[in-house]
């Protein structure tokens, strides 16, 4: 997709007539396959904005930095990103009237991080793959679910595959096999917390893993502390994860984090659902695990 021209025009208009103080979009990095987040605050800076096939970065995460301020913010979001904005609104992290949401209908993007890595010389590959990012191949939400202005024509849903197929496979494993599978997966975690930082749903002011009184999970990269970190974080995401896939994308050691997140999505669907987080914004709506109902299922207790 390429909406660079349209977005620039909209951004220039919004900044000129003072409707917003800043526009959160993307710009080009040093390489043609590198698109990175960018904030334009004046009409002059609008010329740097791009919205192209490498605009994968979920910009809704940047809103957290401005949650306490008063600035009016315009933000460009694709389908998956817009669910992140719904997440923030439902969590009362930012006020709707401060946002001007520019939605773009997306037909899939490529991952600049993957391109950077493949061109870096750090990987043994003959030719860099240039296809769509993995998460785009079975996209269920190409069109923004919330917007003030929409760019591009509505895109059809691309993914019809059963996203829980791999989960079902893992569920079939014996307890030992499953333990070994996750031990292999999580032992290489270096606890850089990039997944937490990249996640829109991780918006606690003081994260549980930063608490000292008590310290819930130790800092060691032992398998037990790593397990605890990922399981606790996933549990906090249950019913709230919007499947934007950023956590998995930024992980420096390629841990397939979406597997764990999808398992919880599957469980929430079964026990409290069907429920898809962030699909539409209705004021006052809360994620299923934020509300206690007397008839909540409890036969797993």
């Amino acid at each position: 997709m390429n909406y660079t021209q349209e977005i620039r025009e909209i951004a220039a208009r919004l900044l000129e007539n003072g409707q917003v103080d800043m526009v959160i979009a993307w710009e080009k990095g040093d390489h043609e396959y590198q698109t990175i987040p960018f904030i334009a605050r004046t009409v002059d800076e609008v010329g740097r904005i791009v919205c192209d096939e490498y605009s994968i970065h979920n910009l809704s995460n940047s809103l957290l930095r401005y949650r306490d301020g008063k600035e009016k913010i315009a933000i460009v979001v694709k389908g998956c990103d817009s669910r992140g904005i719904v997440r923030l609104l439902e969590d009362n992290q930012i006020k709707r009237d401060r946002l001007y949401i520019i939605g773009v209908a997306c037909d899939g993007v490529k991952d600049p991080l993957r391109a950077m890595k493949q061109h870096s010389g750090f990987e043994r590959i003959q030719t860099p793959e240039d296809g769509l990012a993995a998460k785009c191949l079975d996209c269920r939400q190409p069109n923004p679910v919330i917007y003030d202005e929409m760019v591009g024509e509505e895109q059809p849903i691309r993914g019809e595959t059963d996203r829980f197929a791999r989960i079902a496979e893992i569920e079939q494993m014996s307890a030992d096999e499953r333990y070994r599978f996750f031990e292999d997966m999580l032992s290489r975690c270096i606890r850089c917390y990039a997944c937490r930082q990249a996640c829109v749903a991780c918006n606690c002011r003081t994260c549980i893993f930063d608490e000292t009184r008590p310290q819930w999970v130790g800092r060691e990269t032992s398998i037990s502390d790593n397990f605890m970190y990922h399981l606790v974080r996933a549990s906090h995401m249950a019913g709230r994860c919007v499947e934007c896939g950023e956590c998995e994308r930024v992980c420096p050691v390629n841990i397939p984090l979406m597997l764990i997140n999808r398992k919880l999505i599957k469980d929430v669907n079964e026990f409290f659902g069907p429920y898809e987080a962030g699909m539409e914004y209705v004021e006052g709506n809360k994620p299923p695990l934020s509300v206690y109902k007397e008839n909540d299922p409890d036969d797993f207790l």
């Binding site: 040093d30 870096s120 010389g121 850089c192 930082q197 800092r219 060691e220």
Partner: protein
């Protein structure tokens, strides 16, 4: 010249592994890094001597991610502590590139000089032999030469392997290197070979005078601009071959436990969070600025060389596209009042 043929590499590793823990660059599953040859699994792992570099630098061999310092046990008001006896296995890091060797030189500066000698680090470092792999093909984001690193000749290496057709020239530099070479002498051949030329660098940066200029740029608006996309995720600090900041924590259960140190990152908010609530570097911009000033100015003032070796890893993996090259360029071009 002594030459090690490609076909003999695994034999060499086996031989060396008899007396030491040999760390070599490997592809293991989804990640690349330096792993112990003793853990090599033919069906799963892949030796990566030929690759430009691996993501995880070998700094963890001498500065482990988690390191037990001493254990303790309590009885009423009494307490006993027991310092961990350092494992005595010698270590060899083989196949390390110049940029990472310079990283180790910086760690040596930090942990072995200026008033105190870190005994845990010293115990490991004294027993570590460095066999560097000279680099002739700079990558897309490599700029080590601009930061004062010689890709084909590392200062702190005990032996330098130089890639030639079919193998490596075995260039011994120090006594430590001699001692290791003796173990595999019979596996080396005498041969006259031509060394590869160093290919030109794709990226250069001019660091001259940057440390001086930064002294007046603390309040420069560039920090706000550059830190905007930064998510303070910390990946840069974990993959950087020179980042060394650590935390000291305790693990206790009942009346026993141990104190350990682990890697920490200056990008996290609690890095300077004080007990009373005061935090001198609360905002992301302040931590971002502190990291780059540390790398480009403070370290140069203290130890004489910048804390960046030009390996390019941070540029590749940063989700926000932050580039230290851009920052150095901006400083270089900045007009300062002074």
């Amino acid at each position: 010249m002594k030459v090690l043929k490609m076909s003999k590499i695994e034999q060499v590793l086996d031989r060396l592994a008899q007396q030491a823990d040999v760390y070599v660059p490997m592809l293991r599953g989804q990640q690349t890094g330096f792993f112990s040859w003793n853990t090599y699994d033919e069906g799963y792992d892949d030796l990566m001597f030929d690759i430009l570099n691996v993501y995880q630098s070998p700094k963890h061999v001498i500065l482990p991610q988690t390191e037990k310092m001493y254990s303790f046990s309590q009885e009423g008001q009494e307490i006993k502590i027991d310092v961990e006896a350092e494992e005595m296995t010698p270590k060899i890091i083989m196949g390390i590139r110049s940029c990472d060797v310079r990283g180790i030189e910086h760690l040596d500066d930090v942990f072995l000089t200026k008033g105190y000698v870190d005994q845990f680090y010293k115990a490991r470092r004294d027993k570590t032999t460095i066999i560097a792999n000279a680099c002739y093909n700079p990558g897309t984001n490599c700029f080590c030469e601009s930061m004062g690193v010689n890709p084909t000749d590392s200062e702190a290496a005990d032996i330098i392997m130089r890639e030639v057709n079919g193998g490596y020239v075995w260039d011994v530099k120090t006594e430590k290197g001699e001692a290791v070479t003796k173990q595999i002498e019979d596996l080396l051949e005498e041969q006259e070979v031509e060394l590869f030329p160093l290919k030109p660098f794709l990226r250069k940066v001019n660091y001259e005078g940057v440390a001086e200029k930064l002294k007046d740029m603390f309040e420069d608006p560039m920090w706000e601009k550059f830190s905007e996309p930064c998510q303070t995720c910390g990946i840069c600090t974990y993959l950087c071959p020179t980042c060394y900041c650590f935390d000291i924590q305790v693990k206790a259960w009942g009346d026993e436990g141990y104190r350990f140190r682990c890697w920490d990152s200056c990008m996290y908010r609690e890095y300077t969070q004080m007990a009373g609530g005061h935090n001198p570097r609360e905002a992301a911009k302040e931590r971002f600025r502190n990291r780059f000033l540390h790398k480009l100015q403070f370290f140069t003032e203290r130890y004489g060389r910048p804390l960046c070796t030009g390996c390019g890893r941070c540029i590749v993996v940063c989700p926000g596209g932050v580039s230290i090259i851009k920052i150095i360029d901006t400083v270089k071009e900045a007009e300062t009042g002074a």
